[in-house]
């Protein structure tokens, strides 16, 4: 969107308005869950299992209870009395709140201590004596699937193996035929390892039950407060918690990334403790607990095959995946999509035949997997396709940019029906790739690479031309436990022409207080500075499914525009009354209605707002407000073209990302500065798994790097200079033409980096390397290929 419709004072779409929320964040005045302090509040700490798989023989709480200041030690047996020792997951599996007999992963919650302060609680945790009988853990899903593997979920009656579900989509037969007839077939095993969102704020809550009123208030680090309220009402209804008496407040959140969608046992225990003791109970995880016990992301073992003609026309794609879900399927997908939107795996290419199937297995590892800054398994899908396209290019001895150009879905083909069932809304892939290539100087880089290679130097160029699928979603397909995935806006205009709007989503750093205000400013002409945005309190906000999967702009952003239109419809009636003309004679221009043909006769939105409360027309309700629940007609499909250049030290194998150009297209842009910021953050969270992050377990299920000394989060020092630019291809079905952006870079960056490293080593016969690609891994490859002594 090039031209601005509003002045800088109004600050509608397209203005780089400074973030309203930063005034408090930069002053250290954000209010997070751990900042909540209530009178009489107690503190909870959790006893965790040192074993990945063990029988609990006994739990002795006497010594802990004897410590002054300890109020209670809660065990699975205590919760069992209330039938709260198990809970459902969002994927309709079951998860222990606290175990009564068996622990299923290292760091699993075993018991909880409630004490006067955090320090006493920590000492009491040490004093709880648990006797375990360790059993041989099953850590590898390929072992878990064997017929002689021990059945892990013995709690499930009749379960005879560790298989969770099978899912498939696409035309198996036509794909098979295409493979049989193809000139060229490439195949690669691609693993996306288990990682963790590692948000800087860990998870926690303050549960406060007031016995007199029977009202439960929970301050909680959640991305989806309304869904949590309903889940609590459904799960704990039998102990007297009724939905009107449950209030979930999600204060400021220090990063969510999908990790704050699930309900963790700690929340439930804190709530139960508050109900039983009748006092507020605070629980905040420490870093290691967060890393070791909360839901993981990824962990897909993908076997990827691509068929093409000898001239490089892609004809068929087939992916078979083994998903490791840990001991329970605690993914946070829309209910009908056990593998999320993995079927976006045909990516940006016109591939007519595709088939993908997946089997999920239990192992003795923490449950998951959450959609870490990606719209439900899109990162996995895009990594698979972007890697295999490069493998094909290598096999055909074709330039990977050229091969992509040949196979792109062409701009005129939109809306495009993909072989796996998606209707892509809009796109112009060749334009984005061309811009990326021009920006980075692609042809010169290829020449440089050839010269360097001749001298024994290692340099690689990697591409990723991805398509995302975000904004879940249309109610016909998308729900979570039956609740449709619409989202909402409730808008009120005050007499002085200022406004407040509340939403069913919940910002965790995305800048909603600014961007939603800008959308409303665009549609109403009220300055964004004078539009207050609120989210996260279920007693005040309209119902919505929360913020994840880049859905806020596609759903709640659209709801804002629609609510504003409803307000405008009523404003027109009031303006007609004030100007004594009929409604049809009025024309809207940002911020005012004027009489057609005589623009000097006009009423501003402020005049109209005042009249709505002081002089409303007879027969019309007073006030000026509207609510809209937006059910999107389709998802949105942002896309991008990334190019990465790496240099590798031929002796030490250190990898330097020399350049990284990211061209993103998220349709029309609400706030360019915020988009830019989101892309920088997302690219860095793409760099992280590409080169640094992985949760590592030994064969007994012990986590080897459950802390930030060894789970390597890149810092500003490791982060390259991101060179960003954009193309704009509006969404045809979204009221603002916008798409959603914050996850594209997390999805797009890892394959660009992996492709660059593999490209640097391709002349040695390297076809694939699994991320994270560390210098040590590269050194091992160099060693294997005889390139280092």
């Amino acid at each position: 969107m090039s031209e601005l419709k509003t002045t800088p004072e109004v600050c509608g779409m397209g203005h780089s308005m400074k973030r309203k929320e930063d005034a408090r964040f930069l002053r250290g005045q954000g209010k997070y869950t751990d900042d909540v302090v209530l009178p009489g509040m107690l503190h909870m700490d959790i006893v965790r299992s040192p074993y990945a798989y063990a029988k609990i023989k006994s739990i002795n709480t006497d010594a802990a209870m004897a410590i002054p200041g300890v109020h209670a030690v809660i065990t699975g047996d205590v919760l069992k009395q209330y039938n709260l020792h198990w809970m459902p997951t969002l994927m309709s599996d079951t998860q222990m709140v606290l175990p009564t007999d068996t622990v299923m992963y290292q760091s699993q919650e075993v018991a909880a201590v409630i004490a006067d302060d955090r320090y006493i609680a920590a000492d009491a945790v040490e004093a709880v004596e648990v006797e375990y009988e360790p059993m041989q853990a099953v850590v590898d899903p390929f072992k878990s699937m064997q017929s002689d593997a021990p059945v892990l979920r013995t709690d499930k009656e009749g379960k005879t193996d560790n298989h969770i579900w099978h899912w498939e989509t696409g035309d198996k037969d036509s794909t098979e035929k295409a493979f049989q007839n193809a000139d060229v077939v490439v195949k690669e095993n691609v693993y996306l390892p288990r990682i963790h969102v590692a948000s800087i704020e860990t998870c926690g809550c303050v549960a406060s039950f007031e016995p007199a009123e029977g009202k439960l208030t929970v301050y909680m680090t959640t991305q989806a407060p309304h869904a949590i309220r309903t889940v609590v009402a459904l799960v704990a209804g039998h102990v007297g918690l009724s939905e009107e008496k449950i209030r979930i407040i999600s204060p400021d959140i220090g990063g969510g990334f999908g990790g704050k969608v699930p309900v963790y046992p700690g929340y439930v225990i804190a709530i139960a403790a508050s109900v039983v003791i009748g006092k507020p109970v605070k629980w905040v995880e420490d870093r290691s607990e967060n890393l070791q016990a909360d839901s993981f992301a990824r962990d897909y073992h993908m076997s990827v095959e691509l068929a093409s003609s000898s001239s490089g026309k892609m004809e068929a794609l087939r992916i078979k995946t083994v998903a490791d879900h840990g001991y329970t399927d605690a993914a946070a997908n829309p209910s009908k999509y056990p593998a999320g939107m993995f079927s976006i795996c045909t990516g940006s290419y016109d591939i007519k035949n595709a088939f993908t199937e997946m089997d999920a297995y239990y192992t003795n590892k923490p449950p998951g997997g959450v959609a870490y800054r990606c719209s439900f398994r899109v990162t996995e899908a895009i990594h698979a396709i972007e890697r295999i396209v490069d493998v094909l290019a290598q096999k055909l001895d074709r330039d990977p940019a050229d091969l992509r150009m040949q196979n792109f879905i062409q701009p005129e083909a939109f809306p495009y029906q993909s072989a796996l069932g998606w209707e892509y809304d809009s796109g112009d892939y060749p334009r984005a790739l061309k811009l990326a290539m021009d920006t980075i100087g692609y042809d010169d880089l290829r020449k440089e690479q050839a010269e360097k290679r001749a001298k024994g130097e290692l340099m690689g160029i990697g591409l990723s031309t991805f398509t995302e699928v975000v904004g879940a979603g249309p109610s016909k397909d998308f729900d979570i436990l039956g609740i449709k995935m619409f989202d909402s806006c409730e808008l009120r205009i005050h007499p002085t022409g200022k406004a407040i709007a509340r939403f069913g989503t919940k910002s965790q750093g995305q800048g909603h207080e600014t961007t939603y205000a800008q959308i409303l400013a665009e549609e109403l002409g009220i300055p964004a500075a004078h539009i207050q945005i609120e989210e996260g309190d279920t007693d005040t906000a309209p119902y919505g499914l929360g913020t994840y999967a880049s859905r806020s702009t596609p759903t709640a952003g659209a709801a804002a525009a629609k609510a504003a239109h409803k307000v405008r419809d009523k404003a027109r009636k009031i303006a007609a009354h004030l100007l004594e003309v009929s409604e049809e004679d009025l024309e809207w221009e940002v911020g005012k209605f004027y009489v057609k043909g005589s623009p000097e006769q006009s009423k501003t939105i402020q005049d109209i707002a005042f009249a709505a409360y002081t002089n409303h027309p007879q027969g019309l309700e007073a006030g000026l407000e509207a609510t809209h629940y937006y059910d999107p007609p389709n998802l949105t499909f942002p896309f991008g073209s990334y190019i990465c250049v790496v240099d590798i030290d031929p002796k030490t194998a250190e990898i330097k990302v020399r350049r990284f150009v990211a061209i993103d297209d998220c349709g029309n842009i609400i706030n360019p500065m915020i988009v830019e910021g989101q892309i920088h953050g997302g690219l860095t969270q793409g760099l992280a798994p590409a080169m640094y992050e992985e949760l590592i377990y030994d064969e007994d299920g012990n986590i080897l790097n459950g802390n930030f000394m060894d789970y390597l989060l890149p810092t500003a020092v490791e982060t390259p200079n991101w060179e960003t630019d954009r193309t704009v291809t509006p969404s045809p079905h979204h009221p603002l033409g916008a798409k959603g952006v914050a996850e594209s870079p997390t999805v797009g960056a890892p394959p660009a980096i992996a492709n660059a490293v593999v490209d640097a080593l391709s002349h040695l016969g390297v076809e694939n390397m699994d991320i994270p690609i560390t210098p040590y891994k590269v050194w091992q490859v160099l060693k294997e290929k005889g390139a280092v002594a």
């Binding site: 000492d123 060894d710 989060l713 040590y776």
Partner: protein
């Protein structure tokens, strides 16, 4: 991540601190910058009953060159090394090392004395001090003594300090003219301990031959390691590429790395080999430049 309770003591002079150490024996620990000790306490790996904080004792924070020695007070923080003019102008190896330790916020707290006294072979200063042929001063109930750095790290996480001794000073011989040094470290990310690192300090004569050389290796053994066979090879020589390669091989052979998350022993040896060659080359360049 919360330590058990402990008693926090704040002596105002060294003899009081020593007296406290004597009184509480192995239940007590000196607290300097706290950036090795407190992480261990938070994980309840160290559970001292008494913490003797020596940060209130004056006069332990200095960097001075006198009578042919650089003297560093034990409580001098890494950031002070980085900012010191004398370090910047004459001790490139120390400057390189300080810059490679952790990150700026840690370097504002972590002390040079603590870095040595912790006895951790993964810490960076031990190898540096080996290369510089430093010594440390310890003060105990019977007064002070000077300990050669080669005698200071007898075993894994062990130092030559007695239970009731406090490290007060580090002494480094001032380098002669035409000296150069360098510290090269491979880490997985900033703030990480070394996968392997090499410290080199040398000086050259008028013909460009190496007169004296010190080589120290970080985190490739249960103690910091002096690469003595490489030192011997190079002494009195003007090394060509082949001799450098041989020095790298010898240093790698002197290392005793173990496999861990940073990589295999073989990988770490390969790093020692390469880093040794590079550190010597860079030191030679710097020595030439300082003529």
């Amino acid at each position: 991540m919360i330590p058990p309770s402990f008693e926090y003591l704040t002596p105002s002079n060294i003899s009081d601190a020593v007296a406290l150490l004597q009184k509480h024996g192995d239940e007590a620990k000196i607290l300097a910058g706290g950036h090795s000790l407190i992480p261990a306490m938070r994980l309840r790996l160290a559970e001292p009953g008494y913490l003797i904080d020596i940060s209130g004792i004056g006069g332990l924070d200095y960097i001075q060159e006198e009578s042919g020695q650089l003297r560093i007070g034990a409580m001098t923080c890494e950031a002070a090394l980085e900012e010191s003019e004398i370090v910047q102008s004459k001790y490139p190896l120390l400057l390189d090392t300080a810059k490679m330790i952790a990150d700026p916020s840690v370097r504002n707290m972590a002390t040079v004395g603590g870095n040595l006294a912790h006895g951790d072979p993964a810490n960076d200063h031990p190898a540096t001090m080996l290369a510089l042929r430093a010594s440390v001063v310890a003060e105990g109930p019977n007064g002070t003594r000077e300990i050669k750095i080669d005698d200071f790290f007898p075993d894994f996480f062990t130092t030559a300090l007695a239970e009731d001794e406090i490290l007060t000073e580090i002494r480094i011989p001032s380098p002669p003219s035409a000296s150069g040094g360098a510290y090269l470290k491979i880490e997985r990310k900033v703030g990480d301990y070394a996968a392997a690192a090499v410290a080199c300090q040398l000086n050259i004569d008028s013909s460009g031959s190496i007169e004296n050389i010190g080589l120290g290796l970080t985190n490739v053994g249960s103690t910091p390691i002096r690469a003595s066979s490489a030192e011997e090879l190079l002494k009195g020589k003007k090394p060509d590429e082949n001799m450098l390669a041989e020095a790298g091989r010898l240093a790698a052979a002197d290392s005793e790395p173990m496999e861990d998350l940073r990589g295999s022993a073989e990988y770490k040896r390969a790093l020692v080999n390469e880093l040794t060659q590079r550190a010597i080359k860079l030191s030679l360049q710097r020595a030439e430049g300082s003529r």
